[in-house]
C-alpha cells in the first residue's frame, strides 16, 4: 500500500534516489561529527596513550611508543580488580533484575491510574546526585544503623558489619543502577498486549505457564536492554567501591582512577580502560548471541 508520490512518477528514479541519499548524508553530519569529536578521537588517543613509554629521567612524562607490555603489567597487577568488577556488577545486575522485574510488571499491568506517579518515583532518586545518594547509603549501612543491627540480630553478617564490605558495594551498585533496569523492563512489558495473556489462559495455560511462555519471552528485549544498561556502567563504576567498600573491594574503576589521578601513570590507566572496554564488549556480544535477540535490542 505504498503511496505513489507524484514527484517519483515524474522525475527519473535515479535522480530522486540520489537526492534522497544526499539528504541522508546531510542529516547524518551532526551525529557523525559528534561521534568523531567525542568518541573516535578520544578512543584513538586512549589507545595511543596506553602504548606510551616513560620519558627517561622525567617522572610523569610519557612519549609515543608501542609498548604492548603496558597491558601485561597492568593486568598482572590488577586482575583481581577485574574479577571483582565483573562479579560485583554481575551480582548487582541479577539483584536489580530480581527487584526490578516485579516492580516493572506491577507498573505496567496493575498500577492503573497510579502508573505515572510510580514511574516518577522510580526516576526521582536520579534527581539527586549520584555521589550524594551513595553517601546516603554510607549512613544507611553504617555499623550502628538499623539495617546493620537488623541483620546482626539475625546473625546473617559474617563480619558483623555491612559498610566497608563487598555487600555494601553490591548493595550500592544495585540501588544506583536500578532505574536503568526498571525503565527498559517497563517499556517492554507495557508493550505486551494483555489479550495475549488471555489467549494463553484460554488455551489451557495457567497464570504461571502463561508468564513462562508468553510474558517472559516477550519481555526479553527489556531484560536484555536492562541488564546491559545496568551491567556496563556498574562494571566501570568506582564511586560505590570507593565510598562503601574497603581497600579489598577495589574495582577496575578505582585502579584506573588511582593510576590516573594519584600515580599519573597515564599509560597504565589507559591500558586498564581499554582492557575494560574490550572485556565488556566481548561479554556483551556473547550475551546478546546467547539471548538470541540481536534483532530485538
Amino acid at each position: 500500500m505504498a503511496p505513489v508520490l507524484p514527484s517519483a512518477a515524474v522525475a527519473p528514479p535515479s535522480t530522486v534516489a540520489q537526492r534522497r541519499s544526499r539528504t541522508g548524508y546531510v542529516l547524518l553530519f551532526p551525529g557523525m561529527t559528534w561521534l568523531a569529536v567525542f568518541f573516535a578521537i578520544p578512543f584513538v588517543t586512549l589507545f595511543v596513550t596506553s602504548l606510551q613509554t616513560p620519558v627517561p629521567g622525567k617522572s610523569g612524562r610519557y612519549q609515543l611508543g608501542l609498548e604492548f607490555g603496558n597491558y601485561a603489567t597492568a593486568l598482572a597487577e590488577y586482575w583481581p580488580a577485574f574479577v571483582r568488577s565483573f562479579a560485583y556488577a554481575g551480582i548487582a545486575t541479577l539483584l536489580a533484575l530480581i527487584i526490578g522485574y516485579p516492580l516493572a510488571y506491577f507498573i505496567a499491568f496493575r498500577s492503573g491510574r497510579w502508573r505515572g506517579l510510580m514511574l516518577v518515583l522510580v526516576i526521582a532518586p536520579s534527581f539527586a546526585s549520584f555521589l550524594l545518594r551513595t553517601y546516603a547509603w554510607k549512613t544507611i549501612l553504617a555499623d550502628e544503623s538499623p539495617v546493620t543491627s537488623f541483620f546482626n540480630a539475625l546473625h546473617l553478617l559474617p563480619d558483623g558489619r555491612i559498610l566497608n564490605t563487598s555487600i555494601a558495594v553490591i548493595a550500592g551498585l544495585t540501588y544506583n543502577f536500578l532505574p536503568f533496569m526498571v525503565l527498559p523492563l517497563y517499556a517492554a512489558l507495557e508493550r505486551i498486549d494483555p489479550r495475549l495473556i488471555e489467549a494463553a489462559n484460554d488455551l489451557y495455560a495457567s497464570p504461571v505457564t502463561a508468564f513462562r511462555k508468553i510474558t517472559w519471552p516477550l519481555s526479553m528485549p527489556g531484560v536484555v536492554a536492562g541488564t546491559l544498561l545496568t551491567f556496563i556502567p556498574a562494571a566501570g563504576d568506582y564511586i560505590n567501591a570507593e565510598l562503601l567498600g574497603s581497600t579489598k573491594d577495589r574495582m577496575v574503576g578505582n585502579a584506573i582512577q588511582t593510576n590516573f589521578i594519584e600515580f599519573r601513570d597515564y599509560p597504565t590507566a589507559s591500558a586498564l580502560s581499554f582492557a575494560l572496554m574490550a572485556a565488556i564488549l566481548i561479554l556483551v556480544f556473547t550475551y546478546i548471541r546467547r539471548a538470541g535477540t540481536e534483532d530485538l535490542v
Binding site: D193, R195, L196, E198, A199, A200, N201, D202, L203, Y204, A205, S206, P207, T209, A210, K213, I214, P217, L218
Partner: protein, 395 residues
Amino acid sequence: MAELSKTDQVEDLHLVNLTKRFGEVAAVDDLTLTIPAGSFFALLGASGCGKTTTLRMVAGLEDPTSGSIRIGDKDVTRLRAFKRPVNTVFQSYALFPHLDIFENVAFGLRRRGVKNIKPIVEAMLELVELGHLARRKPTQLSGGQQQRVAVARALINKPDVLLLDEPLGALDLKLRRQMQIELKRIQTEVGTTFVHVTHDQEEAMTMADTIAVMNAGRIEQMGSPAEIYELPRTVFVANFLGQSNLIEGRVSGAGEMLDVAAHERSFRLPRERSSATGASIILGVRPEKMTVLDAPDAARVPEGHNVLSGRVTDVSYTGVSTQYLVQASWGQELVVFEQNLIVGDRCEVGDEVVVHWSPRHSFGLDGNEDIHAGVDSAVLALESVDSAPAAGDGE
C-alpha cells in the same frame, strides 16, 4: 485426518440469567439462552450491546455478576479460563508474535501434555490450508491467513464450544465473504458448536443456523435466519435485521384475521403473526413483499391484499431490483423493492401509485415500542462494516 473427525460428543451450552455489570452499566442483562450442540450460532447486535462481554464470560475471562453457565449439565461458572473446555478466536486474533504458526497452533495441545502432536497440528494446518506456512511468524502472514491460524489454534483443542468474536471484522469485504464460506465449511466438517459474534447482519444470516439478536445486554429474538427475518417480534429486530415499513395503528377483530385501523385505512394481518398485546399495534411489512402499481391499474390488486395509495418520491435502479420511495397518503415514506421482471414500464418520480401486499406478509408488533428502535444501530453496524478494512485491527 483421523484426529480431526467429528468431535466425539457435543453438549448444549446454557446461559442462565447471566448478568454482568461494570459499575452502573449492565453490559449483559439477565441473559438466558440455550445454544444447541453442534450448531452454528450467531450472536448479532450493534457495537456495545454486550456481545464480547457475553463471550468473555463463557470463556472464563470475565466473572459474571450473577447467573450461571452450563455445558451439558456441568456448571462451569466458577471454572478458571484455563480449565474450561471452551476456546476463543479473538477479535484481534491475539496470535503469539514470538511463536511460529506451528507453535501457535500447538500451544493448547502442549499445555495439556498431548503426545505426538506433530501429525495433529499438521492435519489442522491442512484443514485451514496453511500447511506451507508452518514456520512463519504471525506478522509475516496476511490478515486472512492470521485469521485462519486463530481458528486453527482454537479448534485443534476440540473444545465443546468455539467462541468467535467478530473474527472477520478486520478483513476487507471480499475476503470476508470468502472466509464466511470457509468457516461454515470447517464447522460442518468438525461438528463443534460455534458461537459467532458479529454486528454484520448479512454475515449472521449467511452463516448461522440460529441467530440471537442482542440489544442493550438482552436477547431480543432468537431463531433461524428466515424465521427472524420473516417474522420479527420486536421493532428493534424489524429495523436492525434488514429494513421494514412500520405503520402505527389500532387493532380490532376476533377471528383468525386481525383488522388494523391506521390513517383511516384498514389492513389485515393473521392473528398468529402479531405479537401486540394491547389495542395499539405497529403493522410491519418487508420492502420486497410489496408491489407498486400505477394508480389507474388499481383494479389489478389481488383480492384480499392490503392496499395503500401514495406518490413515488424516489426511484433507484440497482440491477437486481428497483427501490422505490413512496410517500403514503398520510405523509409517511415507505420503501418498496421490486424485482426487475418487467421490461420498461417502470414507475417514475411523481407518479400516483397504489402499493399492495399479502396479509400473510404482514407482521404485528407491540404498539408501545419506539417505532425507530434499531434504526440507528443498523446504520451504525453498516458503517462499521464499511470502515472495517480502513480501521485495520478493528476495536
